[in-house]
Amino acid sequence: MVGLALMLAVMTEVGLLSPFQGLFLRVSAPFERVLTGIFSPVASVLSDAGELNDLQDENAQLRIENEALRNRITDLEQAEQRVRELEEALGITSGAGEGTREVANIVHRDNSAFTNVVTIDIGANKGLVPGMVVLSSQGTLIGTVTRVVGDLSFVRLITDSRSKVSATVEATGAEGIVQGSPDRTLSLGLAQGEIRVGDTLVTAGLGGNFPRGIPIGEVKEISGTSQDLFKDVTVEPRVRISTVDTVLVDTSFVPQSFLGAE
């Protein structure tokens, strides 16, 4: 068995298994959909039953937030209108719009120790390459494409322990590295600068692996003493990543490291 494992390791390394993997993924996809269709409602009912009080509290909180956000949208729309008028008056044209985004569905997940990877149902057929950024339907950062196999792609979520995203606090410009943890939560490591609970974190764009300004989440908790060089900052993702079914892939952005490899 150990010898077989060594042989498999070599075959994986030289890419001999990739064609079989593509074929297997294609054949197994319908069966996986059936399994997900059967067990998703069961898991949903169990989860909801266990979190009924939390959900009621969250619902009340969301109603308040919803009202505040609606008011904020109104303010922003007015500001946008004002900017447009000023741009017209000064003869300025707006910069480039949003990049091209492809819609994809999550086919299956692999959430085990230290690993949080999902498979999406688009791949080379839509021009996906490793390194592309994956967002929620509302534009929050979800993860990055790590591998493309035929018409499917594997996405490493930001809650995966191996994920590290250079981030900045939108309000104060404080910087740090958002990283996943084994219990699928997010933390802001090496955090420097002024950070408060409720601050919004966005990608910093440093290192060229992510475009600048993609929302990640909010600061949920800050712990540590005044002597600590770096505070322990817990981050609440803006989207409940474990329940996301539909995602967007930003096909207009390919990281510098991957461009260099091509």
């Binding site: 077989l4 993924l25 997940r109 692999d110 959430n111 230290f114 498979t119 322990s161």
Partner: protein
């Protein structure tokens, strides 16, 4: 026909690992359906199909999750030696406890190995979290899963089989 059904069962277990298991997490651990399938195969069939089924399971789960099949194969490796050891060591435990020991020890080994694999790929070396959030919940999850699967099979009349290749006629003592 039996071999075909066993193969289908293993493939279904691998598919359940990436579709059903993530829906029922306990802390940082998820049910290990592939290990469960292999343990039940050893317990109610014989170790021989497990020798063929283990690489198939590692390949299938590796393909579906984009993990290294070699690492998964190493993760499932303790199953058969454990079965042999528990049966031959004259430890006074019944068939269920032997299956439970195989399930939990292989589960612990697999999760540790996969965590180490992730750590070498860039994850933080959080050994405390590995123990408290992954291994301890995983142990109880494995035990519960095996109990839920094993007892009904015994109740419908399946009989426990020997867990060594020798007892199933594959290997003759010299």
């Amino acid at each position: 026909m039996k071999g075909f059904l066993i193969g289908i069962g293993i493939l279904l277990a691998a598919m359940a690992q990436v579709t059903v298991a993530p829906l029922f997490p306990v802390a940082g651990a998820v049910p290990e359906f592939v290990v469960l399938a292999l343990v039940l195969l050893v317990a109610f069939s014989s170790p021989r199909p497990v020798m063929i089924g283990t690489p198939i399971a590692a390949l299938a789960y590796g393909f579906l999750s984009d993990r290294a099949p070699a690492l998964l194969l190493l993760g499932y490796l303790p199953l058969l030696p454990l079965g042999y050891f528990l049966e031959e060591s004259r430890v006074p435990v019944n068939h269920y406890l032997r299956a439970a020991a195989m399930m939990t020890i292989t589960g612990l080994w697999l999760r540790t190995l996969l965590a180490f694999g992730a750590m070498t790929a860039g994850a933080d070396a959080a050994f405390g979290v590995l123990v408290t959030d992954v291994l301890v919940p995983g142990f109880f999850l494995d035990l519960a899963l095996l109990t839920v699967a094993y007892i009904p099979l015994r109740l419908i009349g399946w009989t426990g089989q020997g867990m060594t290749l020798e007892r199933t006629g594959y290997y003759a003592r010299l």
